[in-house]
C-alpha cells in the first residue's frame, strides 16, 4: 500500500464526486420528507427518468439541452405525480406511502422499458467538460470536477435560500410545524407542491448529470435508491445538514472502503448505518429533535 499523496488526493476527489451526486438526490428526498412527512421510494425512479430524458434530449440537441431540460421534464412528471397521487396520499400513514411509491417503482421501471427499451444507453460528456484538469497536484477528469462544483453550488444556494429568504423561512416553518405554518398564513399546500416539484427536478438533474458518467439502464433507479435512503437515514431526515453530511459519509466510506478493505466494502456501509441507528435512532442531524 505504498501510495503517494496524489493517490489519496485522487481518491478523496472520487469520494467527493460520489458524495455530491448522492447529495443532489438525497436533498430533494429529505426535504420532501421533512416538510410533508412523505416517503417517496420512487425518488430513484425519477433519477432514472432524468437520465433517460437527458439521453433522449442529448441525441436531439446536445448535452446541454439534456442538462437543462431533463430536470424540467422530471419536474413535469412530478406535477403529474403530485396532483394525481401524492396530494391524496398526504394524510395516509408512512406505510401506505411506502406502498404506493413501491408500486410506482414497479410501474416506472416497466414504463422506461416500454419507451426506451432494455438496451443500455449512453451520452457523451460535452466538449466543454471533456478531458482533464490539473487540480491539487493530480490530473482529474473535468466532468467529475464539474459534478463536485455543481453539488457544492447547489448546496450553497439551498443553504442561502433556506436561511435567508422568505420562501426558506416558510419551508423551515413548515418543517418545524406545518399546522403552525398554516396558521401564520402560509399556503402550505402550494409550498408542498413547489418543494415536491423542485425535489423531482433535482432528482432529474442528478440523473442528467450521472448519465455521461454511468450507463443509462432501466434498473439504475433501483440501484441508486438504497444508497440514497442510507444517506438520508444516516444524516437524519428533513435537514440540509443531514443530507450533506450523510452524502459525505457515504461517499467517503464507500470509496475508501473499496480501496482499503475491498472484501468488506459493500457490507461496511450497512454496518455503519446500523451503528448510527443504534446510537442515534433518528440519524445524526434530524430536522426535529
Amino acid at each position: 500500500m505504498a501510495h503517494d499523496l496524489g493517490f489519496w488526493t485522487l481518491q478523496a476527489l472520487n469520494a467527493l464526486q460520489l458524495s455530491m451526486l448522492l447529495f443532489l438526490l438525497s436533498i430533494g428526498l429529505t426535504v420532501i420528507f421533512g416538510l410533508m412527512h412523505f416517503v417517496n421510494l420512487a425518488h430513484g425512479s425519477l433519477y432514472a427518468l432524468g437520465a433517460y430524458f437527458a439521453a433522449s434530449l442529448a441525441a436531439v440537441g446536445g448535452y446541454w439541452m439534456g442538462f437543462f431540460l431533463a430536470p424540467v421534464a422530471v419536474a413535469g412528471v412530478g406535477v403529474l405525480l403530485y396532483s394525481g397521487l401524492i396530494k391524496r396520499m398526504r394524510k395516509s400513514g408512512p406505510m401506505a406511502q411506502v406502498l404506493v411509491t413501491f408500486g410506482l417503482i414497479f410501474a416506472m421501471l416497466d414504463l422506461t422499458r416500454i419507451f426506451w427499451g432494455d438496451l443500455a444507453l449512453g451520452i457523451e460528456v460535452p466538449a466543454l467538460l471533456d478531458g482533464r484538469l490539473a487540480f491539487l497536484g493530480v490530473e482529474y477528469p473535468t466532468y467529475r470536477l464539474f459534478i463536485i462544483a455543481l453539488g457544492l453550488a447547489i448546496f450553497a444556494a439551498l443553504a442561502f435560500v433556506l436561511a435567508r429568504t422568505q420562501i426558506g423561512a416558510m419551508i423551515r416553518a413548515g418543517v418545524d410545524n406545518d399546522a403552525m405554518a398554516a396558521c401564520l398564513g402560509i399556503n402550505v399546500e402550494r409550498l408542498f407542491f413547489m418543494v415536491f416539484c423542485f425535489g423531482c427536478a433535482l432528482a432529474g438533474l442528478a440523473g442528467a448529470v450521472a448519465a455521461p458518467l454511468l450507463s443509462v439502464t432501466p434498473d439504475m433507479g433501483l440501484q441508486i435508491l438504497i444508497p440514497t435512503l442510507i444517506v438520508i437515514v444516516i444524516g437524519g431526515l428533513g435537514s440540509l445538514k443531514g443530507a450533506v453530511s450523510g452524502s459525505l459519509i457515504y461517499g467517503f466510506v464507500q470509496t475508501f472502503g473499496a480501496v482499503l478493505a475491498p472484501q468488506l466494502a459493500s457490507v461496511l456501509i450497512y454496518a455503519l448505518l446500523a451503528a448510527v441507528l443504534v446510537i442515534k435512532p433518528v440519524g445524526l442531524f434530524p430536522a426535529k429533535g
Binding site: 472520487n14 432494455d118 458518467l213 450507463s215 440501484q223
Partner: protein, 390 residues
C-alpha cells in the same frame, strides 16, 4: 438421492413421451425482463433468424414456447419444470446467466431433456457439472480469455493489472487469462474484484490500477458495468498511458455505441465479431441488420447457432429427447463464427477466438479483427459423461 428425487417427481426418462414425429416442441428459456432482458431479446432475434433461414433444410417443424426467467434462478427453475412437465417440450434452448444454468442443470439432466445453452458460460457446465443432455453453443468463460494471455504476452506486454466483477464468471474469466499470461512469462501486478452489479463508480479502482506500475489493464465487464467502466477509464485519461485490454464482452456491439469514442482503441478477444470476413457471416449479419436495425452481437450469433444446431440435429432424423441429445453432441457446421463443432468430452462448442480492436467507422464504431486465434477444446475439468441411451 438426486436420481431418486427426480424419479419420484415423475421425471424419469422413461416417462417422457416421444412427441409426434417431426413436430418438435422447443422451450425458449430466456430473460425477457430484469437486467439481462436485452440479451434475451438479442438471442431470441438470432434464434428466429436461423429458423427462418435454415428451417426449410429439415422436415421437422418447430413449435416455440417462450418463458421469461427474469434472471432469477428459482423462477427459471420453475419455468423449466413447467416446460418439461406441463408443455412436454422435446428440447430447451436459451439461458443467459450461469446462476440460472446452475439451477436448471439437475432438472434437465434428471429429466433427460436436451438443453442447448445459448449464453451462460460458467466452466463447470461443461466441466465437473457436465451432462450428456447439455450442449453449449455459446462459449465457456475460460475459452474466451485463455488465448488472450498468450497473445498479449506475444505483443510484448509484461505486466498487467486485472479488474472484474466479484462473481463466479468474473473470477473464471480473469483466472483463465492469468493462467495463460503467467505461463507465457507475464506478471500480474495487481488484481481487484469489484462488487458485482453494485459498483457504479470505478474511480477508486482506476486510481489503484494507475498506481500499480502495470503496462496494461485487462478486464472483464459486461452490460451496464462495461459502459460505465469504459467511459470512466477514458475520462481519467488512462487509455493513452495504460492500454485497455479485456474480454470482448467489454466492447460488445450491443453496448459499444453507448460507450462512444471512449471505446476506441480498446483491444479485446471474443468468439464473434460482426466484421468477420466470411460468406456465412455476411449472410447472417446482413439479414440480422435488415431485420433489427443494428449489427448483430455475439449474443445474436449464439441464438442463431443454437437454432442452427437444433436444425442440424433434426436433419439426422432425431425427434425425441434422447435422440436429439445424441444428435446435438455431433453437430458440426460452418457458421458466422467459422467452423463450429462440439467437443465430445465436454459438450462445449469448439470455435476460434477473435482478437479485435474497436475503431471509429464511418458513422458508428466498428471492429477491426487483429488476429484469429485457433479453435481449442477446453480441458475436461472433471467432466464425465455417460452416453445417452434411447
Amino acid at each position: 438421492m438426486k436420481r431418486a428425487t427426480l424419479a419420484a417427481l415423475g421425471l424419469a426418462t422413461s416417462f417422457a413421451m416421444p412427441a409426434a414425429a417431426e413436430d418438435i416442441k422447443v422451450g425458449l428459456l430466456l430473460p425477457f425482463s430484469g437486467v439481462y432482458a436485452a440479451l434475451g431479446n438479442e438471442i431470441e432475434a438470432g434464434f428466429n433468424l436461423a429458423l427462418e433461414q435454415f428451417g426449410d433444410e429439415t422436415d421437422a417443424t418447430f413449435e416455440i414456447i417462450r418463458e421469461d426467467t427474469e434472471v432469477k434462478p428459482p423462477v427459471a427453475l420453475g419455468k423449466a419444470k413447467k416446460l418439461i412437465l406441463q408443455d412436454d417440450v422435446d428440447v430447451i434452448a436459451g439461458i443467459v446467466s450461469s446462476g440460472v444454468l446452475g439451477a436448471v442443470r439437475d432438472m434437465v439432466h434428471g429429466a433427460g431433456v436436451p438443453l442447448i445453452v445459448a449464453n451462460a458460460g460458467n466452466d463447470e457446465a461443461t466441466g465437473a457439472d457436465c451432462s450428456p443432455f447439455i450442449t453449449r453453443m455459446s462459449f465457456s468463460n475460460s475459452q474466451v480469455n485463455r488465448p488472450m494471455g498468450t497473445w498479449m504476452h506475444e505483443q510484448g506486454i509484461g505486466k498487467v493489472y486485472t479488474l472484474a466483477p466479484d462473481y463466479a464468471a468474473g473470477h473464471q474469466m480473469i483466472d483463465a487469462f492469468t493462467a495463460s499470461f503467467t505461463a507465457a512469462g507475464g506478471e500480474v501486478v495487481g488484481q481487484e474484484f469489484t462488487p458485482f452489479q453494485k459498483t457504479q463508480d470505478f474511480g477508486p479502482y482506476l486510481a489503484q490500477a494507475k498506481a500499480s506500475g502495470a503496462d496494461a489493464v485487462y478486464v472483464f465487464y459486461a452490460g451496464g458495468e462495461a459502459i460505465s467502466f469504459v467511459k470512466q477509464y477514458d475520462s481519467f485519461g488512462l487509455k493513452a498511458e495504460l492500454p485497455l485490454y479485456g474480454s470482448g464482452f467489454l466492447t460488445s456491439p450491443l453496448y459499444v455505441n453507448a460507450e462512444g469514442p471512449a471505446a476506441e482503441g480498446v483491444i479485446t478477444a471474443l468468439h464473434y465479431v460482426p466484421t468477420i470476413d466470411s460468406t456465412a457471416n455476411a449472410v447472417f449479419a446482413d439479414a440480422f441488420t435488415a431485420a433489427n436495425g443494428r449489427v448483430p452481437s455475439e449474443f445474436a450469433v449464439q441464438g442463431y447457432d443454437a437454432a442452427r444446431a437444433l436444425i442440424e440435429a433434426t436433419k439426422t432424423g432425431a425427434s425425441d429427447r434422447a435422440s436429439l441429445a445424441n444428435a446435438l453432441r455431433n453437430v458440426k457446421f460452418e457458421g458466422p463464427r467459422g467452423t463450429l463443432s462440439i467437443d465430445p468430452a465436454t459438450n462445449n462448442v469448439i470455435q476460434p477466438i477473435y482478437v479485435y480492436e474497436t475503431v471509429a467507422g464511418e458513422d458508428t464504431l466498428t471492429q477491426k479483427v487483429l488476429a484469429q486465434l485457433p479453435a481449442e477444446a477446453d480441458p475436461v475439468n472433471g467432466c464425465e459423461m455417460a452416453p445417452v441411451s434411447n
